[in-house]
């Protein structure tokens, strides 16, 4: 109360020399039980050098201790006997996948009672921009779970921490998956699970027919067309990336086995021609736009076949239950489909404290251990385990065996090349759409895309 009086006295009046015309408020005199000092005496006392020096020294002590604590806080990593502290994780999971990740977080907290995990759902498209914005201030989640390909954007903004090889047992991870989180020799994310495109089909819609051809899923593109002609609806998303799997069916590729960009796009023209032939078939839907439209149509039983992402399986299974089946994508002749392999990884905020980093690393190791990976695959049947020591009975887990088989031909985008590849994908999209719409011949689309890729490679070589 006395301080309030002092503030009122000093800050309202002290700046002005002549105080004529202002009366002392009698209420203040009654309110305070201390003797009422003359204002002049009060101001003189507070203006004394001694008080000013004390005040400044006190503030300097607080500020320097804060600064020192901040500097000392940047300790090197050390092994903790007992994990303790709180972390905030942003993730894009919802519905069934959220149940799975949430149960993992709960289990980790039960095993480590001193740890508190705060998790927050953030739409997948907003995670990276939000982390970049908040982390630039020092805030934001301790770590995020997102697609490994987004590491390049976070690296460009310098908002994630590198992870030393000694922090993890990297021998447990699939080499193809490690390529997606390693940039110029350093790890920037810890893989948690992979997804890819597969052929989802509604068995209930097929069982009504006596046609023996329908007892097995289509294994070639021609068989897929035949099913559409027979009245069994097929749905696919129409974009360069979503139809990337078809390149392999015609002997084409963009990346070689070592992960280097080596375009062989002659077969892409044939693939586009096949897609144009498929569009005009009855019951064949090539939809440009939101995947959720086809997802809902399939979940509601309006589609028999749907080229889905394996991350959709958990929610589709909830709707279709035992009617949902999956198969590897149809090939063509001796060639097999080569879909892209998408890996989810956990990435640590650059502003995270050393303790947060330790906790996130411990959590990531827990999530990628054999038991948790096996439990996740059994529970969700949606992702491909990234731990190379996970084995299971393929006859018991049919979904997982299909996913594993598809992952054998899947194409991984190495992180070292992602910043070259993503612009290629972006520039390929209008060419693809123009070719599908008939504005340019497929051969012309191939020629232009090859030029774009060669230009990109040349530009990168110049920069390096």
């Amino acid at each position: 109360m006395y301080l309030t009086y002092l503030k009122t006295a000093i800050f309202s009046q002290s700046k002005f020399k002549n105080l004529g015309g202002v009366r002392h408020d009698p209420k203040i005199k009654r309110f305070f039980k201390v003797p009422y000092l003359e204002k002049k005496q009060l101001l003189t006392a507070l203006k004394s050098k001694k008080w000013r020096k004390l005040g400044c020294s006190f503030l300097l002590v607080i500020i320097s201790s804060t600064l020192l604590n901040a500097c000392i806080g940047a300790r090197p990593l050390h092994q903790q006997e007992q994990l303790k502290g709180a972390i905030l994780i942003w993730h894009p999971y919802k519905n069934e996948l959220f149940q799975w990740i949430n149960s993992n977080f709960q289990e980790f907290q039960q095993l480590n009672s001193g740890v508190n995990i705060q998790d927050e759902y953030v739409p997948q498209k907003e995670i990276v921009p939000r982390l970049i914005q908040k982390s630039s201030q020092g805030f934001g989640a301790s770590a995020i779970i997102d697609f490994a390909r987004n590491i390049s954007e976070l690296l460009a903004a310098k908002r994630i921490q590198p992870i030393e090889d000694t922090d993890l047992d990297i021998s447990t991870y699939q080499p193809s998956v490690l390529r997606q989180v390693r940039y110029q020799g350093k790890l920037y994310g810890i893989p948690l699970g992979s997804t890819t495109r597969v052929l989802c089909y509604n068995n209930a819609k097929l069982q009504t027919s006596q046609d023996p051809i329908l007892s097995q899923p289509p294994t070639s593109l021609d068989e897929l067309i035949k099913r559409a002609q027979k009245g069994y609806s097929v749905g696919m998303i129409s974009s360069f990336e979503d139809t990337f799997w078809g390149l392999g069916n015609f002997g084409s590729s963009l990346i070689n086995d070592q992960g280097k960009i080596e375009p062989q796009l002659g077969g892409w023209a044939e693939w586009i021609k096949w897609l144009k032939k498929a569009i005009i078939q009855p019951n064949f839907t090539l939809l440009r736009g939101d995947r959720m439209v086809l997802n809902r149509a399939f979940a509601n039983g309006n589609l028999a076949y749907y080229i889905c992402n394996s991350s959709e399986i958990a929610d589709l299974k909830k709707m279709l239950k035992e009617d949902l089946k999956i198969a590897i994508l149809p090939g063509q002749g001796s060639f097999q489909a080569k879909p892209l392999l998408y890996t989810m990884a956990i990435m640590i905020n650059r502003s995270a404290s050393p303790n947060e980093r330790d906790l996130v690393l411990a959590l990531a190791k827990f999530l990628s251990n054999i038991e948790q990976q096996l439990q996740g695959t059994v529970q969700t049947q949606s992702f491909i385990p990234i731990n190379r020591h996970v084995f299971f009975d393929k006859s018991l887990l049919q979904f997982e065996s299909v996913l594993l088989k598809q992952s054998e031909t899947a194409v991984t985008l190495p992180l070292d090349n992602v910043e070259k590849l993503l612009p290629i994908f972006k520039q390929a999209e209008p060419l693809y759409q123009a070719a599908i719409a008939g504005e340019i011949p497929p051969e012309e689309a191939v020629r232009q895309l090859t030029l774009i890729i060669n230009r990109q490679i040349a530009q990168t070589q110049e920069e390096s």
């Binding site: 500020i63 901040a70 201030q137």
Partner: protein, 182 residues
Amino acid sequence: MENPIPTLSDIAIRQSIFYVRPDVQFQLGVILLCLLVSWLLSKRFWRWLQKKFPLFTTFDWRDSRLSLREYGAVLLQNLDFPVIGIILLSFSRILFDSQDWTGGILRVALTLMVFYTGYRFFLATLYCLFPVNIIRIYQARLLTPLIFLFIFLNLTSLSGNLNLVSQTVLYIFYLKSNHLHR
């Protein structure tokens, strides 16, 4: 998918995660240092002005508008602290950028200081245009609370989701009112 409404303890835990970070503490320390140095320098500057130009820095406190000379003096006195603060914060921001340190909070502090400078300028101009006693009433009851509310909301939105926090407060009021009705 909507996130569940956080409890007050969740909000407290999240704030504790953020404010323990070295990056955050370092920035806050630098901002406090800049503000303290600005304040000391502004006091020193005003005292020097009072000694050098005693007539210029004398006010006749009366219930009417200030003269142009007095307006100039009030303007100097109101703007010395925020302007010095802007200069020091700008130098700090340049240093942080050159060293590639995390400096987002510094940028926000700089923006808020610019707003505060504008507010002080606006206030000093009001003293020139209108009787002082009327302005002081509006300053105490409207302008000062508004500017502090603006600064508070900006600071709150830095570390957390203001929508979630407000939902928590409303949710608690809702629970309490339900409990009272029973």
